[in-house]
């Protein structure tokens, strides 16, 4: 069977709307016949077939807009020897290896920047001259070569402090391996228990709609920001889950919420919103907007990767209904947020259609029991449903 696909008529054509089928199943098609009219941004274009055969089946309805490469119809070839077409995913091949952005150098300290010429800095480093002790004579008081030379001859050689090593940026492979190791260890060592709860999200979504009404797109709040804040508040109420297991439960003072970010290259990273309990929802949203692009570019600070005290995993819109996490050791819990969907749900004895979300908790049974976990889910539900109090 020949798969007749939405043709690509130009690099700027991404999709087309099937305006009209000019042939019907059973029709015999000759090479060059017009099989359909397709509406594009340049107007209606007649689409020709390049093979002979009988139109077997139409797969796309008139009026439907589909991407280039979508199979529109099946054609039964006239001769038996026509090659069966292979189904290939329509993707553009990028021949350019993507260069990963390197992390920018982190400020070594909060001290005031020293103005120094590149040459002077180089000579200073070679000779271990402490430039913080020098006064520059160059433009705007910058230290220039002559200043260093003077210092060298006066003081002689002196050992400079070793320079801090920059954090090494993680690579795709190293991330994959780190995830693999942590998850294997978790599954091997941690006896997980699982709890779940269904939450009516009507109020939350209404609140988000209101909050976003007058905001520019880049300032809009995502549900994720609400989840993080709600989790932080719930942990504040149930501190046994904001802890690590180190031959015993050790509570953490700070509430740092790790959240799972999927990478386009595969794998995940779990950056952290530090001190989420003391941030407003807006501040958390800003932090998310700042952190996600950096996470995807491997430009996270090490603290953002290592200091989570609790982790959440959120599936997002249109995804699975429930997610059961695996605890990221040495943490003792992970919360899962499923996709929001409309379900029959009874409120105050009235059955209605509500947007609901299933939230889950995986807890470390060595550290806590189901009762604690259940209290946490209860608190979380309360905060989720009353976002105005967050």
């Amino acid at each position: 069977m020949i798969r007749f696909k939405m043709p690509s008529l130009g690099a700027d054509m991404k999709d087309g709307t099937l305006a009209e089928w000019r042939k019907q199943p059973g029709d015999f098609l000759q090479r060059g016949d017009i099989i359909a009219d397709v509406d594009t941004q340049k107007g209606l274009i007649e689409i020709e077939v390049f093979s002979e055969g009988t139109l077997e089946k139409l797969l796309v309805q008139e009026g439907e807009k589909v991407p280039v490469g979508t199979v529109l119809a099946l054609i039964r070839p006239v001769k038996g020897h026509e090659k069966e077409e292979e189904e290939l995913p329509v993707t553009s091949v990028d021949l350019h290896p993507i260069e990963e952005a390197k992390p920018s150098e982190l400020p070594k300290s909060t001290k005031e920047r020293i103005k120094i010429s590149p040459l002077a800095r180089k000579i200073a480093e070679e000779n271990h001259v402490d430039i913080t002790q020098l006064k520059g004579t160059g433009p705007e008081g910058a230290i220039v070569k002559a200043d260093i030379e003077k210092a060298v001859s006066k003081k002689g050689k002196e050992e400079a402090e070793p320079i801090d090593l920059k954090p090494v940026p993680p690579s795709v492979e190293s991330i994959r391996m780190a995830v693999a190791a942590a998850m294997s260890r978790s599954n091997r060592e941690i006896p997980h228990y699982y709890l779940e709860k269904r939450v009516d999200m009507s109020n939350t979504l209404e609140w988000l709609r209101e909050a976003n009404k007058n905001r520019p797109v880049q300032k809009r709040l995502l549900p994720l920001a609400v989840y993080i804040k709600a989790v932080a508040k719930a942990l504040d109420e149930v501190p046994d889950l904001n802890a690590v297991w180190d031959n015993g439960l050790v509570r953490k003072n700070e509430i740092n919420i790790g959240f799972v970010v999927s990478l386009r290259s595969g794998g995940i990273v779990v950056p952290s919103i530090l001190q989420a309990d003391s941030k407003t929802v807006d501040e958390i949203m800003d932090a998310i907007n700042d952190i996600i692009p950096r996470a995807r570019a491997f430009r996270l600070r090490s603290s953002e990767l290592s200091e989570s005290t609790f982790t959440i995993s959120s599936i997002g819109e249109g995804g699975a209904d429930k997610v059961y996490g695996i605890i990221y050791p040495p943490q003792v819990g992970i919360a899962g947020f499923g996709g929001i969907s409309e379900q029959a749900f009874a409120v105050n004895g009235m059955l209605g259609i509500h947007p609901v979300m299933d939230i889950t908790l995986a807890g470390d049974h060595r550290a806590t029991d189901g009762l604690i976990g259940s209290r946490f889910l209860g608190a979380l539900t309360k905060y989720l449903q009353n976002p105005e109090n967050l």
């Binding site: 590149p118 040459l119 002077a120 160059g138 220039v144 070569k145």
Partner: protein, 328 residues
């Protein structure tokens, strides 16, 4: 060492062209008024009588047409020297130079090469106002596939066109009309010169004055002024604006650790921006001062002499700028 002779820039250009026409039958000169008029700037005066109308071709005012024909003649096996009277008119031939001369080798996968030399009279300084005072070196130097040369000294006037004719690839040769009457000294047996490297015109240790074209003599003059104040400036003549000789720039910077780039062209997106960027990329840790530039003021060239002079870097300006840089 051969004997030095005094010669004008015009005469040097003329001798080079004559030598080219004498030594290779395939070489011919085509351009507006190159024959009967004797060349708009009298560079080819007498050539028509000496070489005849087949080799000294007056052409109609069709910059795109005759430049394209020169490129076509090169494809056909000849060695044309196309003279575009002034760089200002070359804008009308840009389609031919950029869409044909620079691309044919590539589009044909290396099958055809365009061995053409396109000379353009350029430069500022005779109160010719906005349309006749352009410095388009940066435009052409932007284009891969072209070799862009700038004739900044007499020795190059005497030799560059000869070497350019041996290039299998298209060469744009910038000649400076304001220098035509200027006298200079060159070795008696001057001829072909290297067209791959920049050249140090004056050696110095304190700062590199990096320049080309009319900037070369201006920088040399400035260097002489600075020497009186005990400042030892090096003058580097870029000469080859594409492909740029990065190595010589870095070598000079590694010695002086300071650079001032000087040109008549407008400052934005210019040769000096390019030089400055390359120093930043590859010579950053040799720098003891930020790179600075002196360029044409960004205004269409005004007619009055005093404004024209003020619109261009002058030797005094260069010297002052250097002193300011080194004093700080």
């Amino acid at each position: 060492m051969s004997k030095m002779i005094k010669i004008t820039y015009r005469e040097a250009l003329k001798q080079a062209l004559r030598e080219a026409l004498q030594t290779d039958e395939k070489v011919f000169l085509m351009g507006e008024d190159v024959g009967r008029y004797g060349g708009a700037f009298a560079v080819s005066k007498g050539f028509l009588e000496e070489f005849g109308p087949d080799r000294i071709m007056d052409v109609p005012l069709s910059e795109s047409g005759f430049t394209g024909a020169g490129i076509g003649a090169a494809l056909g096996g000849m060695k044309p020297i196309v003279e575009v009277m002034t760089v200002n008119f070359s804008l009308l031939a840009m389609d031919q130079i950029i869409n044909n001369a620079s691309t044919l080798l590539h589009m044909s996968g290396g099958q055809v090469n365009v061995s053409v030399v396109i000379r353009m009279g350029c430069g500022i300084g005779s109160q010719l106002a906005a349309q006749h005072s352009h410095s388009w070196e940066p435009f052409y130097a932007h284009v891969p596939g072209l070799i862009v040369l700038s004739v900044g000294v007499h020795e190059d006037a005497r030799g560059m066109v000869l070497t350019a004719l041996k290039s299998p690839d298209p060469v744009i040769l910038f000649e400076y009309t304001s220098m035509l009457n200027m006298e200079g000294e060159i070795p008696e047996n001057s001829g072909e010169v290297d067209i791959s490297k920049a050249k140090v015109r004056r050696s110095g240790n304190d700062i590199s004055l990096i320049t080309y074209g009319t900037g070369v003599y201006k920088c040399l003059e400035a260097a002489a002024l600075l020497a009186e104040d005990g400042i030892d400036a090096e003058v580097l003549d870029l000469r080859v604006l594409r492909p740029m000789d990065e190595e010589s720039i870095l070598e000079s910077i590694s010695k002086t650790h300071r650079a001032l780039v000087v040109e008549d062209a407008w400052r934005s997106v210019s040769i000096s921006s390019e030089v400055s960027a390359r120093i930043m990329e590859k010579g950053f840790f040799e720098l003891d001062l930020p790179v600075e530039r002196l360029c044409g003021v960004e205004v269409p060239m005004p007619y009055p002499k005093h404004l024209e002079t003020a619109a261009l870097p002058q030797p005094m300006d260069i010297a002052d700028k250097v002193k300011k840089m080194l004093r700080s």
